[in-house]
């Protein structure tokens, strides 16, 4: 299949294409946030939107993450679909009440009467900009009601943002900064949607399952290439949606490989990896050939200086080493 150069997009471009396509079809979709107009959003996250849709649909606000999110909830109750720009994941805790206690709670607490179709876009993870690195996505898995999405590639970025905007549930959509502007990849034209709540097998393998998301997928695939040269074939599961979790895809893989490693940039404690290990241990302990292992950030706030910060992000070498331990091999120092 030929992949025309024009369809090669960055994650950022792909997400924006998805947003534009939905906004053209549905007049009730608006974008709300700070610096999303002439400035075109943090890291150009809203590039071209003001030009195409005008100030009536690209609604600029002051800095007020908590109230702009509650405002979006109210607008959603009034029949609109609001994409809220929260710039960076560091700022998510400010909007936690509006997300967890309002948006996420509305449907259940009103016995199904109210639904809150909002999408909160935020950029997270380490990246070339070396700013705003704290990863709080796991906070939003703990409380019920929020859908949490983290795409790992441009095509999924487009497909998932379209599904997120069309969803009747509140969605937190985390855009990884490291993946944001490179590298380009093929993105299908037109109405390409990726269903929420479905993981993907990013790389098939028989020896061990690596469950990850976002930037971790890319690191895990690099590790898979290295490990393949040593005759070890890992299966990489890209969760894509962290909540609700696609337990079936994870279980199927772990049952077949018998080995589980989870990888993410966010902290280990109470994280996505902990949740997956708990579920796998409860449901598939008899299929496990080795105790599950996890890679995640150590329990310190993400520091600024490079030599410190580089310790926080999962590396190919770490994955390689952890997989070798799962395989029961002696790990030799590189």
């Amino acid at each position: 299949m030929s992949e025309p150069e024009s369809r090669m997009l960055t994650m950022r471009q792909a997400i924006l294409e998805g947003i534009r396509e939905v906004m053209r079809m549905d007049q009730d979709v608006v974008v709300l946030g700070q610096d999303i107009g002439a400035f075109e959003g943090p890291l150009k996250s809203t590039e071209g939107l003001l030009e195409e849709f005008g100030a009536t649909r690209i609604v600029e606000t002051p800095i007020c993450e908590a109230s702009m999110t509650s405002l979006a909830v109210g607008a959603a109750l009034g029949g609109m679909k609001v994409i809220v720009e929260i710039m960076f994941t560091d700022l998510l805790p400010v909007a936690t009440t509006a997300l967890v206690q309002v948006a996420g709670a509305m449907r259940y607490m009103t016995d199904g009467l109210g639904s809150v179709p909002i999408v909160v876009r935020a950029r997270g993870g380490d990246g070339p900009y070396r700013a705003h690195p704290q990863n709080y996505e796991a906070l939003f898995l703990h409380a019920p009601g929020m859908t949490v999405v983290v795409p790992s590639n441009p095509a999924d970025g487009k497909g998932l943002i379209k599904s997120a905007i069309r969803s009747s549930e509140p969605v937190l959509f985390v855009e990884n900064i490291f993946l944001y502007n490179a590298p380009k990849a093929f993105v299908p034209e037109g109405d390409h949607a990726v269903a929420l709540g479905q993981a993907a097998v990013a790389r098939a393998g028989d020896d061990a399952t690596v469950v990850t998301y976002g930037r971790g997928v890319r690191t895990a695939i690099s590790a898979a290439n290295v490990l393949a040269r040593r005759g070890i074939h890992i299966e990489v599961i890209d969760l894509r949606t962290l909540s609700p979790l696609d337990e079936e895809t994870v279980m199927r893989s772990v049952r077949s490989t018998g080995r589980l490693l989870t990888v993410h940039e966010a902290w280990l404690a109470g994280g996505v990896g902990a949740e997956i290990v708990a579920r796998v241990s409860a449901a598939a302990m008899e299929d496990l050939k080795a105790p599950p292992r996890r890679i995640g950030a150590p329990p310190v706030n993400v520091p600024w200086a490079e030599p410190l910060r580089d310790q926080m992000v999962p590396s190919v070498a770490q994955i390689e080493s952890e997989v070798m331990q799962l395989m029961g091999a002696k790990v030799t120092a590189p």
Binding site: V30, T56, V59, T61, P62, C64, A66, S67, M68, S70, L71, A72, V73, G74, A75, A76, L77, G78, G79, M80, V82, T97, A98, Q101, V102, A105, M106, Y108, M109, T110, D111, G112, L113, G114
Partner: protein, 323 residues
């Protein structure tokens, strides 16, 4: 249309009778709830704020009420009394099926925002967000956002006032200043010329009214609603009233001056309205007593219906079949 008040500001006799009925009903509902639970947060004595303000809304308008006394708001928007009382006796047929505390359930089918958070502040922004949707759909509808003096200390409150002015939203902010957030006196907790004075600093009209005078509340809120409906933007009404009970009914409220409480009891908004109606020969003393008795009976009957509804079971933790 806010046709309740004539040009001279004097309400028609029909309006007075409607307000009286709603205020008496609100009182009886709250007293019933206080008998039900020591942890009820009553609005006894604050009926003029609730009824005067929320009676100014029309079909299609949005209410985002403050939690205290909120049960009467859906009733004013068309919810039956049976359904109101079903909120406080959770059953399989109650609104929200027991998920939300009885007083907080709102009524989305009547565009009344539920208080789902147990956090004060977001409700104001939710009301304003709904106002934004009304505005975008080119409806001349408004959102009335209620809050207490305690809520006025939150960041969400200040952020939302700013947003409402900047976005020129068709919103009305209604402060039920009952002078206490739990035990904290508003005068010791809010800086400067709180609360209506702050509104003017944000660039919207703000005025203070006697919150125990239903006609005054209705006239002020009616004017603010008309302004918002015309596209002229938000405004704030601070209705000065008094929380006659403790924070919850079993709270003895030792932290405050009982002499002051007695003074405010003597300014009871319902008695005050009744005196006015008696003076105008709209109601006789006997009729007033009858209306009060009837309201109490109606509440008791509705509560009896609610108590007889099928009880919740463990299955009700989950959505109904097919949802």
């Amino acid at each position: 249309m806010t046709s309740q008040a004539t040009k001279s500001g004097v309400a028609t006799s029909d309006r007075l009778l409607e307000w009286h009925r709603a205020m008496v009903l609100s009182r009886e509902i709250e007293e019933y709830c206080c008998r039900l639970s020591g942890h009820w947060y009553p609005s006894l004595g604050e009926e003029a704020v609730l009824v005067g303000a929320y009676s100014q809304l029309d079909e299609g308008d949005v209410a985002a009420p403050h939690y205290r006394g909120a049960l009467i708001v859906p009733w004013l928007r068309g919810r039956s009394l049976d359904k109101v009382m079903a909120c406080v006796h959770p059953s399989q047929t109650s609104p929200t099926r027991g998920r939300l505390y009885g007083g907080f359930v709102g009524a989305l089918e009547h565009q009344v925002v539920p208080y789902v958070t147990m956090v004060l502040g977001p409700t104001i922004a939710i009301g304003c967000g709904w106002a934004m949707a009304l505005q975008r759909h080119a409806l001349d509808r408004v959102a009335l956002c209620g809050f207490g003096d305690g809520t006025a200390g939150t960041g969400d409150f200040h952020e939302t006032l700013n947003l409402a002015v900047v976005l020129n939203l068709p919103a009305v902010f209604l402060c039920h200043n009952n002078q206490f957030s739990i035990s904290t006196a508003a005068e010791s907790a809010l800086a400067g010329d709180a609360v209506a004075g702050w509104a003017t600093r944000y660039g919207m009209p703000g005025s203070t009214v006697d919150g125990n005078d239903v006609e005054a509340v209705a006239a002020a809120v009616g004017e603010a609603v008309t302004r918002a409906r015309s596209g002229a933007g938000p405004s704030m009404i601070e209705a000065l009233t008094y929380r006659r009970s403790g924070h919850f009914i079993a709270d003895p409220a030792h932290y405050r001056d009982s002499q002051l409480t007695r003074e405010w009891e003597s300014r009871d908004p319902i008695t005050r309205l009744e005196r006015r109606m008696a003076d105008a020969e709209l109601l006789s003393e006997a009729q007033i007593q009858e209306r009060r008795r009837d309201a109490r009976d109606e509440v008791e009957q509705a509560a009896a219906v609610a108590r007889a509804a099928p009880a919740l079971t463990a299955r009700d933790l989950w959505p109904r079949e097919g949802e």
